[in-house]
């Protein structure tokens, strides 16, 4: 609390030197894989996806560096404000959101269509990191101190669920849950939540839309309806499995290119990669993600502020959830929930969310030695 801070204020030049260029390289490499796959998805054409994805990556990189260079204490100070703005945007989606893909998820800002529920993943990490930063190790064990953060997760999740987007709602809850976990919330409380969730399943089931119920049925037994609802999963498994160990070669994925594989440029892009580059290609991509996550863990543990540690873990967990949910989904391990593959799938908001998250991760790294007192207002 009264700790000495050797480098509380850094010059812009030093900050730029401090940027974790290894991590940026990994991110760029992953995005490059994505662009190559989009090039293949368009049957060897830069249009319509690859060029736009490059542009998005460029914009994302600028945002990433901008966020990384801003003082972490600024982000600490305005964490709740940012969260609040995102919450208002989520409510706005309810009011003015236009209908897209059968669910209201977009705000049309004219230039881009913004999906606040995606950005909220970062928003929750920020707000929870700020909250638990100010709660002592003892207080974290007390239930009254948990009510506010539960509400922080609950409010946006409820809004997203109402859109209705079950996948993203669960995603938000799990991202928050990860922060809760590393913040030191007692394990039995997680157990309690799981038990409660289990009890709520029948109630939740009745609230699901028919298409959501169908997705779950389909997940449980995709082969029963190979031309109907189970088509996506089955075709994805066929494409993946037929890729074998080394794949069919770049742009040679017959299932993807003959359009048997649905949504090959978005949610099922991993399947196309695994068809064309085989298990080896899939593992290489998984390795890239793991390296980014290792950076995330290292940055988290290296940070001297609790806010930074929690934020880094929140962002890393978000990345993990993206990767795991998407890949598990296309391999038929979990139901189809519509989560994109980070940095690879075609789509603006997801790319933006990831780059913003990575920006916060690098920001934490640059400002790893900055300290912030329990009660806010940096020590320096």
């Amino acid at each position: 609390m009264h700790g000495f801070a050797p480098s509380q204020r850094l010059s812009l030049g030093r900050k730029i030197l401090q940027i974790n260029w290894g991590l940026v390289l990994l991110i760029t490499a992953t995005a490059a894989v994505g662009i190559a796959m989009l090039y293949s998805a368009a049957n060897g054409s830069w249009n319509p996806w690859a060029t736009r994805q490059i542009a998005r990556y460029g914009v994302g990189l600028v945002i990433l560096i901008t966020i990384a260079l801003v003082d972490i204490r600024f982000w600490y100070r305005y964490a709740y404000l940012i969260y609040g703005i995102l919450l208002v945007m989520l409510i706005a989606v309810e009011v003015v959101g236009s209908v897209g893909m059968g669910a209201q998820r977009w705000i049309n800002l004219g230039v881009i269509k913004l999906q606040p529920s995606e950005l909220m993943k970062v928003g929750i990490a920020l707000a929870l990191a700020r909250y638990f930063h100010g709660v002592s190790a003892e207080d974290v064990r007390r239930i009254p101190y948990l009510l506010a953060p539960i509400l922080m997760i609950g409010a946006p999740s409820a809004l997203v669920l109402k859109q209705p987007d079950l996948g993203t709602a669960l995603f938000l809850i799990m991202t928050g849950g990860a922060v809760f976990f590393v913040a030191g919330v007692r394990l039995w409380k997680f157990g309690l939540v799981f038990a409660a969730a289990g009890a709520a399943v029948p109630i939740a089931w009745s609230m699901l839309r028919p298409y959501q119920q169908k997705r779950i049925f389909t997940f449980l037994d995709p082969e029963t309806d190979p031309l109907g609802a189970g088509y996506h999963i089955l075709q994805s498994k066929i494409a993946l499995g037929s890729g074998g160990l080394f794949g069919k070669g770049f742009m040679q994925g017959s299932q993807s290119h003959l359009n048997f594989l649905p949504e090959k440029q978005t949610d099922f892009i991993f399947t196309m990669l695994a068809e064309e580059f085989g298990m080896v290609g899939g593992l290489v991509l998984l390795g890239l993600y793991m390296l980014i996550m290792v950076y995330g863990f290292a940055i988290s543990l290296r940070s001297r502020t609790h806010f930074g540690r929690l934020l880094a873990m929140g962002i890393t967990s978000m990345l993990f959830l993206y990767v795991f949910i998407n890949i598990a989904m296309v391999m038929g391990l979990i139901p189809v929930v519509g989560v994109p593959l980070p940095l690879i799938s075609y789509g603006g908001t997801a790319m933006l969310t990831l780059m913003i998250g990575m920006g916060f991760l690098i920001c934490t790294y640059i400002h790893r030695d900055v300290t912030i007192s329990r009660h806010g207002g940096g020590d320096g």
Partner: protein, 625 residues
């Protein structure tokens, strides 16, 4: 400071947990990849190929059918048809409504389409309409956006250029029915037709050929991307019939002058069927495209039975055409000699029953030649009584009556040649001698087909060889070209000469019953026998007053007119049999038709067309005498 470090300790422990959990879950993903891409990879590779590779059958062209001189009787014609893939259509009824606005769809076509859609798998195309003309094709193409799932295909359809004249011989092809689906994938092709009758049915497998196939790569919506491999099928075998197209047409045209009739022309040596006609016929082309129920009802309710091939399935009492068999039975049994004489006073008495001759006041003294020439019934009552039914039946069987000839056509009938045992077994009562008498003039239980009568005549004419009719030479089917050798029936030349002389007198002696239907061209003279088959019983009361003339009775009660014959008389080559239903006497109606047919047949014989070839052939022919 203490507090933060303890908090950091708890934090890093939790981070370690979380990290471990994440590694575990990512390993799960890697494991799943291994399972799908290595362990089960082969299964998914197969499924992927099934996805993308579509095996399509190439229907073989059906073999054509030609006459004995290679002239086309059944051919394939290119046609345009519109097909429908059910799974690409949301609501078939709505789509058919739209379509009927473009080409008029009859109700029966709709029913057939809906029935086929139900029966087949959703991706199998179903034929909506065949033989589209250019106007319909372009109308459908223009409206294609409103008609999803419909497409125009080029196919082949069967055509019978001579329509009804060959209907009974050729039969027809038509859509595969449910019970004919054997698992041969060819049968599931849209618009594939199988032989349903006649030669088309009997030789269906030969004509059908073997399907080829092509492997094509398709995308998710079934569009063909490229062809991967192609294996050509084997076209169906072309069949050459023994029929002479011109004779068949002539026979049909000649028979069409009557209401209901049939005729057969045979080569007496090798059994070649030169013409086999049954009138009225039907248009087999209508069956190919699918009959309307109205046409079908008209065909099956027609009293003249156009769908029946009367030449092979019509059963008639042979009447007087049977008398040669009775005479031969008597001669061969050596019970009567050719000079055996009987006095005909117009009837004969057996117990209380009186058996009438067709000539009310009798023929006077008759020997066997006279009895043939005049067709004297009393004479044959006499010899039938002397030899008994079983001898008559045995001789009739030797001449091919009462059993199927085995001609290459479906639904041939065997007929009936009664014996004592037959009656006992079938009816349960003992044979009556009166029944032997009426059998002696070809009435009573005896039933024969026109084809059998032609075979009988051929066997008399060819010197007692057991010739059998054929529509196709063996070489056409199995490649073994050899003239058939028929076994000798063991009838003495002496007996056959008597009967043939009797038949010669029928047409060539002025008093003969068919003298007016004689052939006067030298060297082409016809021998024959008339027959009049009674189809009702003439009551005593009617006979006492006056037997009604044929034209005074309703059509159904009139006698059948029959004639069997062969030519040339001195060196037989062709046999003919003609039956005109309910037309009256054989000499008036049937004999002139037979004359025309035999004359035309001989004139068409290559040996008779010009003098030079005839001379060249003469030595070979003389051996047959």
């Amino acid at each position: 400071m203490y507090k933060d470090s303890s908090r950091f300790k708890s934090f890093s422990r939790r981070v370690a947990f979380l990290g471990g959990g994440k590694v575990l879950l990512l390993s799960l993903l890697a494991g799943r990849m291994y399972q799908l891409q290595v362990i089960e990879s082969d299964k998914y590779k197969t499924l992927a190929d099934e996805n993308r590779i579509n095996l399509r059958l190439l229907p073989p062209p059906r073999g054509t059918i030609v006459d004995r001189y290679g002239r086309a009787l059944a051919v394939n014609q290119e046609n345009y048809r519109v097909t429908l893939v059910a799974e690409q259509v949301n609501d078939i009824n709505t789509m058919l409504d739209t379509l009927s606005g473009i080409i008029s769809l009859e109700d029966y076509e709709r029913h057939r389409i809906l029935r086929e859609v139900r029966r087949r798998r959703g991706f199998v195309p179903v034929t909506v309409r065949e033989n589209l003309d250019w106007r319909d094709v372009s109308r459908i193409e223009v409206n294609a956006p409103d008609l999803p799932g419909l497409s125009i295909e080029v196919g082949q359809s069967r055509q019978y250029p001579f329509a009804e004249d060959f209907a009974h011989v050729l039969g027809y092809v038509s859509a595969v029915s449910e019970k004919e689906v054997t698992g041969d994938p060819l049968l599931e092709l849209p618009g594939f037709k199988v032989g349903k009758n006649g030669v088309e049915r009997v030789f269906d497998l030969n004509l059908r050929g073997k399907a080829g196939n092509t492997q094509v790569e398709v995308n998710a919506v079934g569009r063909v991307i490229r062809e991967l491999s192609r294996q050509e099928g084997q076209p169906g075998v072309d069949l050459r019939l023994t029929i002479d197209r011109d004779l068949q047409k002539l026979a049909a045209d000649r028979l069409k002058e009557e209401k209901s009739a049939s005729a057969v022309i045979l080569d007496i040596h090798n059994g070649d069927v030169l013409a086999l006609s049954s009138v009225p016929g039907f248009d087999p082309n209508e069956f190919v495209t699918g009959l309307s129920s109205k046409t079908w009802r008209r065909l099956i309710n027609d009293p003249y039975a156009p769908l029946t091939n009367k030449a092979i399935s019509g059963l008639y009492a042979p009447g007087s055409t049977f008398k040669m068999v009775v005479a031969l039975a008597a001669l061969e049994a050596r019970i009567v000699a050719p000079d055996h004489r009987v006095f005909c006073r117009g009837h004969t008495q057996l117990g209380n029953a009186r058996f009438h001759c067709w000539k009310r006041h009798g023929h006077g003294w008759q020997d066997m030649y006279d009895a043939h020439q005049n067709s004297c019934d009393v004479y044959f009552y006499d010899i039938a009584k002397r030899i008994g039914i079983d001898r008559i039946a045995a001789m009739a069987t030797r001449f091919g009556l009462g059993t199927k000839t085995g001609i290459e056509l479906p639904s041939e009938k065997g007929g009936v040649i009664p014996t004592r045992a037959w009656k006992k077994a079938l009816i349960g009562t003992a044979w009556q001698q009166g029944e032997t008498l009426i059998s002696g003039i070809g009435q009573g239980f005896i039933l024969t087909t026109p084809l059998q009568l032609a075979v009988m005549t051929a066997r008399i004419a060819n010197g007692g060889k057991a010739v059998l009719p054929r529509l196709i030479r063996a070489a056409e089917v199995d490649g073994k070209e050899e003239e058939p050798v028929f076994k000798d029936l063991g009838i003495s030349k002496r007996s056959l000469d008597v009967v043939r002389e009797g038949m010669n007198r029928v047409t060539n002696v002025q008093q003969g019953t068919a003298y007016r239907a004689r052939i006067s061209e030298e060297g082409m003279e016809m021998s024959g026998k008339t027959g009049t088959a009674q189809v009702r019983r003439i009551s005593k009361a009617e006979r006492d007053t006056r037997v009604l003339k044929n034209h005074e009775r309703p059509w159904r009660e009139r006698d059948h007119a029959l004639f069997v014959g062969y030519a040339p008389s001195d060196n037989p080559r062709y046999a003919v049999s003609v039956i005109v239903e309910h037309a009256g006497g054989g000499s008036k109606v049937a004999a002139p038709i037979a004359r025309d047919l035999l004359l035309a047949t001989q004139k068409r014989d290559p040996a008779n067309r010009t003098l030079a070839p005839a001379a060249a052939k003469a030595p070979a022919k003389s051996e047959e005498i």
